[in-house]
Symmetry: C2
Subunit: 458 residues, 2 copies
C-alpha cells in the first residue's frame, strides 16, 4: 500500500495499529518506506549501488508487539509518500493501520506576504515550491536537506539566508548558524564547510571547502545588511578577516591563484560535475569574496584592517582579464585547461571582472559554443540566474528560471531537488538517484529572485 | 559478530554507538538478531517456513542516526546470544558499539534455599536451569515463554505455580493469573485457555481448551493449599464449579465421555503430537479434575454444591476400566482407536483409575510395546514423571528426569525448551525450530520434583 500525504513533510511519523475481528495474539512485522518523490517508494533499494550510506534511505522495519498500540518511528523523516508492506502477521486476527500522522517540524513561523495577483501562475507555483523547500530545510540550523545530510553547509546557508531575507525574514537561524560555524573553526581559524549538530555541534573533520569558507563572509555581510545587527558582525569579524588568508596563501605575483596547489589542498567544489575545470571560477569567486568582505569592513569601519584588499582585487581582476579571457570568442577559459564552462563565465560576471556587456557576450556565446560544461545542480544554476540578472538579460533570466525550476514543478515537485538535469531524470551525484535529496536547500532560491526582482520575474 | 551474554535474559536491550576517529556524518544501519539458543543466530530466518507469525523471530533492523548515542530496542527480548550485522555505514568514520546492556526483568525477588550439598551435580544443574526457566517466565503473569507468545495459558500456569510452590514461593502472581482468567471467562462461564495481557487483558477468542479449563480447578486447589488463602478460593469457586459442566455435557450413561463430540467442540490438547489419540487421556483427566475439584470443595465446606461428583468419579472410573483396559497387555487404549500412547497410561494413573500395581504394569508395558505414541514435549513428560512417582517407580522417575531434562542441559540449555525430543534436534510444533520457545513454562517442573521428593531425586 502506498499513501500519498499530499505534501512534503519533515518530522516524526506515528501510526496506530488496531486488531479488528479478534484480539491480537502475536506480533506484526511491517516495513515502511518513506519517499520525498514517488520513485523512492517504487524502485528496489537493494542491492544498493550508491556512494553514500545506505542508511539514509528511509525504509524502516517495525515489529508491532501488541494491538491496539501507537508507535512513533524513532527517526526524523522527510517524505510525502509512504509505502507500507506487511512482512509478517499472526494470521489469527485481522488488523488496521489508523491515524497515520506526521508531527511535522520547522522553525518557520512567519508567512511571507502573498505575491501580487498579477504574477503568472507558473511563477506563483515556483514560488510556492521554493518556500516549501526553504521551510522544510529551516530546522534548528539551515539544513542542506531534511532527508539526507540534515546539516549545515556554508554554501547552502548562503543561499537559504538570501532566500529567507526576501521571504520569512526570520533572522535568528542564520545568526545561530554563523556562530556555530565560527565556533567550530579549526585551530588556524579557517572555517570548515559543514557542522554536524547532533548530538552536539562539531565540524566534519578535514572538510575544508574553498569557496564555502569565503562565502561565510558574504553571508555575514548580507546578514548585517538585512538586520542591522552590527554586534554580530563585530563578534564574527575576526573569523571573516581570517578567511582572506586562504586567498593570500595561493595568490601569485601575476595576480592568478596557484590553482593547482589550491586544488590539491582544499576541496574546490562549485558544482556536482566531475569534469568541471574550476580554475576560472576560483579566481572569480575569490575576487567576489574580497569585494563582499571589503563591503562588510566598510559597514563596520574596519577597512584599515584589510587595507591590502583593494589592490588584491585590482590585480586579480586584471590577471583574469589578461590570462583567462579570449576577447575573440568572448569566453573565459583557464590557463591550465581550455574548457568552456558555465561556471567560469558566471563567476567572472559575479566578480565584476567583466563589464555588463562582456558578461552578456560571454553568456550568449555559451549557447552556441561546443563542448560546454553546463550546470549539474540548482546550486550553480542559482548563480547562473544571478549572472543573467547582473548582465541585464532579464528575458533570459526569467525564461531560464521558469524552464529550470518550472521543469521540476511540471514533473511533480513539491520541493526543489538537489540535482536536476532536464535531460536526465536519473542524474545522481551518488550513483543512485533515490538517495538524492529531493528537498534541497540550495535549490530554494527562486523566491529570492522573484521577490528581489519583481519587475523581471513577477 | 556474535555476542554471548552468558545467560538467558528477558528484557530490553540497550547499546551505545560512538564514533571513533571522526565525527559521525551519516547514519548506520545495524541488524540485531537475538537468540535463546545458538541456532537462532546461525540459521537463515528467511524464507520463513514456520506456521506462527514470522514477527516472533527476534531480528530487528535499527537505523542509528547520530553518534554518540544510546538506543533501546523498543521490544522486550528473550535471549542469551546477539548477532550484530552492519548493513550500512557512511564509510567516513569508524565507530564502536559499547555498553550493551539488557535491562532484565522478572517478578521473582526471592531466592529458594540451596539444595543439599550431597545432591548429585546433574541434579543441581537441572534444578538451576529449571529455576532459570521459571524465573524468566514469571513476569506480570506466568508467561508460557518470554520469547514467543509471552502470555498466560492455564496449562502452563498449573505447572509453573506448582514449581513456584516448591521454590520461589511468591504466590501473588498465581493469584493475579487466576483472577485474570476468571475475569475474562465467556458469557457461559467457561474459561478460555489463554489471556493476552497487553495492552489490556482479554482472552484469545474461541480458544476453548478442554483440559486447561479443568486444570484451573487443580491450580486453584493447589493455591489454597499452599497459601491458606480461603477467600481467593471462595471468590473463584463459582468459576471452578462451572467448569465441571464441561464434563457433564459430554458424559454418557455408560460412564464414558462422548469423545467424538467433545473433540469436535473443544480443543483437546495433551501434547504437541499430531497423531496422538486422546480419548483415554480425556477420560482420565476428567476424573482427575473431578477429584481435585471435590477436594477444593471440601477445603471450602462446599461439597454439597457438587454432590453428584463422587458418583461421577465412580462411574467414569469403572467405565474406563471396563471399556479401555486390556488386562492381558496391562495397557489402556481408546474405544475408538487402539493406539497405545504414553498419554493414555499417564492419565489413567494420575486419575487413580489404576491401582499402583496396574499403573506400574502399564508403564513397564510401554517400554516393550510396539508403535507407541511417546511424548513430544516436556509438558506431557512432566505428567509422565509424576505417574512414575505415583506408581512408586522411583528409580525410573529419577532416571527419566535426568535423561530427559539432563539431555537438554548436556546440549547446552540455560533454560528448558518448549519441545524436546532426544532423537530429533529439529523438532518443532511450528515447522521451523528457530521459532520454538527455548525458555518455556511447562518445562520448568524438575525443581518441583527435586524439592517435593528429595528422597527420589536428590
Amino acid at each position: 500500500m502506498i499513501v500519498d500525504f499530499g505534501e512534503h513533510m519533515t518530522g516524526y511519523f506515528t501510526f496506530s495499529v488496531n486488531s479488528l475481528d479478534k484480539a491480537a495474539d502475536g506480533p506484526i512485522r511491517l516495513k515502511f518506506t518513506f519517499g520525498e518523490v514517488p520513485s523512492e517508494v517504487a524502485v528496489p533499494l537493494d542491492p544498493y549501488p550508491g556512494t553514500l550510506s545506505r542508511a539514509w534511505l528511509q525504509d524502516e522495519i517495525i515489529t508491532v508487539m501488541e494491538a491496539p498500540t501507537t508507535i512513533t518511528i524513532p527517526r526524523r523523516l522527510a517524505f510525502r509518500y509512504v509505502k507500507i508492506e506487511l512482512l509478517a502477521s499472526s494470521g489469527y486476527f485481522d488488523f488496521a493501520i489508523n491515524d497515520m500522522i506526521c508531527h511535522a517540524q520547522t522553525s518557520v513561523t512567519n508567512e511571507p506576504e502573498k505575491l501580487s495577483e498579477s504574477a503568472s501562475p507558473i511563477i506563483k507555483e515556483i514560488e510556492k515550491v521554493s518556500l516549501n523547500t526553504l521551510r522544510e530545510c529551516m530546522q534548528t540550523v539551515y539544513e542542506d536537506g531534511p532527508k539526507r545530510d540534515q546539516r549545515l553547509w556554508i554554501g547552502d546557508l548562503y543561499l537559504q539566508s538570501m532566500a529567507n531575507n526576501y521571504s520569512f525574514k526570520q533572522y535568528d537561524l542564520a545568526k545561530r548558524c554563523l556562530y556555530l560555524l565560527a565556533g567550530v573553526s579549526d585551530e588556524n581559524g579557517y572555517l570548515l564547510a559543514t557542522v554536524i549538530e547532533k548530538p552536539y555541534p562539531r565540524p566534519q573533520e578535514n572538510q575544508f571547502l574553498f569557496e564555502y569558507a569565503l562565502l561565510f563572509n558574504a553571508t555575514l555581510k548580507d546578514y548585517v545588511q538585512a538586520t542591522g545587527q552590527r554586534e554580530v558582525a563585530e563578534d564574527l569579524w575576526p573569523v571573516a578577516k581570517k578567511q582572506l588568508d586562504i586567498i593570500r596563501t595561493y595568490l601569485q605575483k601575476d595576480g592568478l591563484l596557484d590553482f593547482q596547489k589550491l586544488d590539491g589542498e582544499w576541496w574546490v567544489f562549485f558544482d556536482w560535475k566531475e569534469d568541471l575545470y574550476k580554475e576560472v571560477a576560483a579566481q572569480g569567486l575569490s575576487i567576489f569574496a574580497l569585494k563582499e568582505t571589503y563591503e562588510l569592513a566598510k559597514l563596520l569601519g574596519k577597512e584599515k584592517e584589510i587595507a591590502d584588499v583593494p589592490e588584491m582585487i585590482r590585480k586579480m581582476t586584471a590577471a583574469a582579464k589578461k590570462y583567462m579571457y579570449d576577447s575573440k570568442s568572448g569566453l573565459f577559459t583557464g590557463t591550465g585547461d581550455k574548457q568552456i564552462s558555465y561556471a567560469s563565465q558566471i563567476w567572472m560576471i559575479l566578480s565584476g571582472v567583466t563589464t555588463k556587456k562582456e558578461g552578456e557576450k560571454a553568456l550568449r556565446a555559451l549557447v552556441t559554443a561546443e563542448n560546454v560544461c553546463y550546470p549539474g545542480t540548482p546550486y550553480l544554476y542559482h548563480y547562473y540566474i544571478q549572472s543573467l540578472v547582473d548582465c541585464g538579460m532579464e528575458k533570459e533570466a526569467r525564461e531560464s528560471l521558469i524552464n529550470y525550476w518550472g521543469g521540476m514543478v511540471e514533473k511533480g515537485a513539491d520541493t526543489f531537488w538537489e540535482a536536476y538535469d532536464p535531460n536526465n531524470d536519473f542524474i545522481s551525484p551518488y550513483n543512485f538517484y533515490p538517495v538524492n535529496s529531493y528537498c534541497h536547500a540550495w535549490s530554494c532560491t527562486p523566491v529570492y529572485f522573484i521577490r528581489k526582482y519583481p519587475e523581471i520575474f513577477q
